[in-house]
Subunit: 324 residues, 2 copies
Amino acid sequence: MITLDEAQEIISKEFEKIRFTTDPIELYQPIDYILSVGGKRIRPMLTLIACSMFEQDFAKALPTAVGLEMFHNFTLIHDDIMDNANVRRNRQTVHKKWNYNVGILSGDAMCIKAYEQVMRCPAEVFTDVFWIFNRTAIQVCEGQQFDMNFENRNDVSVADYMNMIELKTAVLIAACLQIGALIGGASKKDSETLYEYGKQVGIAFQLQDDLLDVYADEKLLGKEIGKDIISNKKTYLLISALQAAKGERLASLNQWLSLKEFNPQEKVDAIRLIYDELNIRSLCKSAIKECFEKAEKLLVSLSVQDNLKKELRRFAETIKERVF
Amino acid sequence: MITLDEAQEIISKEFEKIRFTTDPIELYQPIDYILSVGGKRIRPMLTLIACSMFEQDFAKALPTAVGLEMFHNFTLIHDDIMDNANVRRNRQTVHKKWNYNVGILSGDAMCIKAYEQVMRCPAEVFTDVFWIFNRTAIQVCEGQQFDMNFENRNDVSVADYMNMIELKTAVLIAACLQIGALIGGASKKDSETLYEYGKQVGIAFQLQDDLLDVYADEKLLGKEIGKDIISNKKTYLLISALQAAKGERLASLNQWLSLKEFNPQEKVDAIRLIYDELNIRSLCKSAIKECFEKAEKLLVSLSVQDNLKKELRRFAETIKERVF
């Protein structure tokens, strides 16, 4: 089987080769642009790793792995329009660099091109891959819609939030593993176990993201700290704090949330202090730990030799230790 | 085989049954809304007709037919955002009734749901249907991009225009016939002949649309006459007129195109007069006739009994005689 580093390198090289340069260039240049910006490429890496656990010729899964990353990037183009985001990975977002119409239509084209690429898989798994991918794609849209709905809701529970991040983030990571395993010839059961594993790791990944927004070292993170706090984003931390806070502390929290004008650093410091007083950081860390424990149990139950599981264990470690 | 009227009724009944009511409703209500508004349902009708030419049990093609109509409606949601259109089929467009973000995301969801529905086809044609549909979907995006590009170009030729409408409109109509035929068990050759037939009919359909904008009876058309003229839309008529006009007439045409403020009725009358002087109406009618002649030849070459071709001949007639 291959290592995480090897998978990363293969994926990077593949994306260097892939170019979208045909006419109409207004449609394809933005696809080329967002794919060239990079990113962590976690999803295609996982597809390759999962395939290589069952099959030496992991290159079988490469086109599909690329397609899954393309789908993820399509959702970023449209999410950035909906969130009115100007910057992504330190570069202008597609609709900022071009315009809204280019963002909408090149996003649509990228979604369709992602299907094309995902379906370049062996014939014997064609139908299964299609249905897993298609179900996942619609769930990602549902997750994005729930996330947008939360902005206008004051009654979001931790359970609502966990459901939302499962849809928006975790199911695609899960599907990347399942599809990779199927291409590698895994049994239905093993492929489903890897799906569930991916879901737990995906949820942990998002919770870690929520933590980093508040507690990361800004220099390492490479983006501003506290953006979620400034925008009142309903993260695991804020929802848990709203649930745990009482009396004056709750009043103070709500006061900060309702202010239209404020000094951003003051708001970040004040809300971080409330989080600290309520022990929200360790609450979130416990939730992350729980996900990893469930993930490890699933990995143990997988019917492959233990040494084939070590790259996924290393992957879980890198998420756990992620400081940026 | 079934008649056009029967196909129409089956499709209408099917769309009455299909409801999108699950959570999150912000995602699914707009899909429900646009599908309930109706429209001519030409695409799924053609899928059923094509299937029924080769197979008695045409219901096999019904889910896929519905999916192809859903894909068409997804493109309408996003096109209406890009064209800033307020009204479609006498009702508010999705982004007007809700907002831009709802239009973008429910459009995305509808595209994915269209894939799901299109792929509910018999296993033996699953792979073929996927690749035909996927290729068509990307071509429709390319057509829309070319159409938008034409707005800012002054050098659009008739050939450019024909290529654009082939992509934006004709290939989906063509694919609806090809896919229906394949589900019905048609040979590769017959299914490809029907694809080519659909392309000719689709191009004729769009050229007829261009004509109707200028020459239809407004009461029958159910929408304003001359919208293309008012917005300087590069239609077959305008492109042909710009090519044919000389001297003072060309100057007058360009003058009208460059005016920022004008009386709409005056502009429509003036440009229609130029079209009449240049014989543009009959030029367009000849182009339409040529498409139908090619289509008829293709139909003749199809390896089914002549009586099975009569509904497609009737369909071509209804387009030819279309006054609204």
